[in-house]
Symmetry: C2
Subunit: 229 residues, 2 copies
DNA sequence: CTCCTAAAAACTGTCGACAGTTCGGGGGGG
DNA sequence: CCCCCCCGAACTGTCGACAGTTTTTAGGAG
C-alpha cells in the first residue's frame, strides 16, 4: 500500500451505498433537527462541527446545507456563514399565500385526472388521521394529504415549487406545536371533514370547484392555526 | 508512487477575491450559456469538463450546478448526472401561472408602500425600454421592470420564490426569441403602455387594483408571446 | 471595570486524489 | 444482421489539506 499523506483513517473508506448519498442522510438529519426545533432559529451552523458529528468530511455537509438553503430552512450571510432561518410573520404569510396558490392550481389539474389510485391514497390518509393521537401525527398526515394532491396534479413544476416551501411549513407548524401541546378535537374533526369534502370535490372532476375548495380550506386552516399577521 | 503531500502547485493559489467566489462566476457563465441556448436543452453537463474549461477544480463547479438546479435550469438524474432542463409546455404554463400569482401578490404589497425611489426606478426602466432596439434588450428590461416590482414589495419570501423561477422565464424567452428575430413595434408599444399604467396604479396605492392590473398584464403577455398550451 | 488590540481558534472556499459506478464500444455468439 | 457480455473511459461522491478571513479570546491600557 502506498504510504498516503495521512494514514490515520480508521474506518475502511465508507462504501457509497447505492442511491443513498451521505449528503442525503445528513440533509434529512439536519432538516429534522431544524423543524423539530432542536436547532433554534437563528443559531449558527458550522460545517466542521456537523461533519465531525457524522464522521464525514465537509463535502457532503456543504451539499446538505445548500439543499437546506434551497428549502428555506438555512440562510447564508454575505461571508458564507450559515444559520437556521428565522421566519418572520411576513414570511409565514407569504409562504401560506404561495402555498394556497400552488395547491389550488394543482387541485384544479388533479380534478381533471382523478382516478381510483389517487382516491385510494387520499382516503387511506384520512383513515389514518382518524386514528392519530398526537398533534405531530396529525400534522404529518395533513401534510401528506396535501402532498398527495400535489402529486395527483402531475404537474412537475408545481410540485417542485411546492416542495421548495413545504419544509418551511413544517418548521412553522413545529414552532406552533411547541406552543400548544394538545390537539383540539374540534380542529381535528373539522380537518377530517374538510379533507373528505375535498376528495369528493376532486372526484367530481370539477376543476373550478376544486380550486376554490382548496383555497378555502387552506385559508380557514391558516386562520385557526394561528394566523400569522 | 507515494505522492508527497503535493508540493507541485504551479499557479500562485488563486486568491479568494472578496465577495466573488469562483462558484458564483461559473454559475453566471453557465446560466448565460443555458438561457442563450449555447447549451441545448437536454444536453449533458460534465463536471470535469466544465472545471477544466474554467481551470478550476470540481468543487466550485458542483456548487454551481446545484445552484442552477435550484433555479430550474439544470436537472439531475438518479445517478447524479446533470443535464440542461427541457421545459415542457406544461412546465411553461405552470411557471407563468406561479409567476402571475407571485407578482400580483407582490404588486399588492408594493402599492401600499410605494414611494419616490421606486417610481424613479420603474420610470427610468420604461424610458430605457423606449430607446431599446433589439428584442434581447427589451426582454432584459421587461424582466428588470418586473423584478423591480417584486423588490418594491419588500417581501423576502415572495422575492425568493420569484428569483427561483425567473431564470426559467429567461430560458423560455430566449427560446422564443431564437424563433422570431424581430421586435413587433405593436408589442413593444403595448408593453410600454402597460408598464406606464402599472406604475400609475401602484402609485395610486390601491392594492387590489394593483394585483388585478399585474395579473391582466401578465396574462395578456403570455398570450401574445406565444401561449404555451 | 471597561475598552481596545493582538494572537489564537475556527471557518469557508478551493484543490487534487481516489474508489466505486455507469456509460460506450468492440468482439463473439446466435 | 442483431443481441449480449466484457473492458476501458469517463463520472460522481467523498476525503483530507491548506490559504485567506473572520470571530474569539486573552491581555493590557486607561
Amino acid at each position: 500500500m502506498p504510504a498516503l499523506p495521512s494514514p490515520k483513517r480508521s474506518s475502511p473508506r465508507r462504501v457509497v451505498s447505492r442511491r443513498k448519498t451521505l449528503a442525503l442522510v445528513i440533509t434529512e438529519h439536519l432538516r429534522q433537527e431544524i423543524v423539530t426545533g432542536v436547532r433554534e432559529p437563528g443559531s449558527k451552523i458550522s460545517e466542521p462541527t456537523i461533519a465531525a458529528a457524522h464522521d464525514v468530511s465537509r463535502a457532503p455537509v456543504r451539499e446538505s446545507l445548500r439543499q437546506l438553503e434551497r428549502e428555506g430552512l438555512v440562510v447564508f450571510d454575505a461571508v458564507g456563514r450559515s444559520r437556521v432561518v428565522q421566519l418572520t410573520n411576513d414570511d409565514v404569510e407569504d409562504i401560506c399565500g404561495i402555498r394556497a396558490s400552488l395547491e389550488s392550481t394543482a387541485a384544479g389539474h388533479a380534478a381533471t385526472r382523478f382516478h381510483a389510485a389517487i382516491e385510494q391514497t387520499l382516503r387511506s390518509n384520512v383513515a389514518e388521521m382518524e386514528e392519530a393521537t398526537t398533534l405531530d401525527e396529525v400534522s404529518q398526515l395533513d401534510l401528506a394529504f396535501h402532498a398527495a394532491i400535489m402529486e395527483a396534479s402531475g404537474r412537475r413544476r408545481l410540485i417542485t415549487a411546492w416542495r421548495a416551501i413545504e419544509p418551511q411549513l413544517r418548521l412553522w407548524l413545529g414552532t406552533l406545536q411547541r406552543l400548544r401541546e394538545a390537539i383540539s378535537a374540534d380542529v381535528l374533526a373539522a380537518t377530517l371533514a374538510a379533507h373528505r369534502d375535498l376528495i369528493d370535490v376532486l372526484a367530481s372532476g370539477d376543476a373550478t370547484a376544486a380550486r376554490k375548495a382548496v383555497e378555502v380550506h387552506i385559508a380557514s386552516w391558516v386562520c385557526e392555526s394561528g394566523g400569522s399577521a
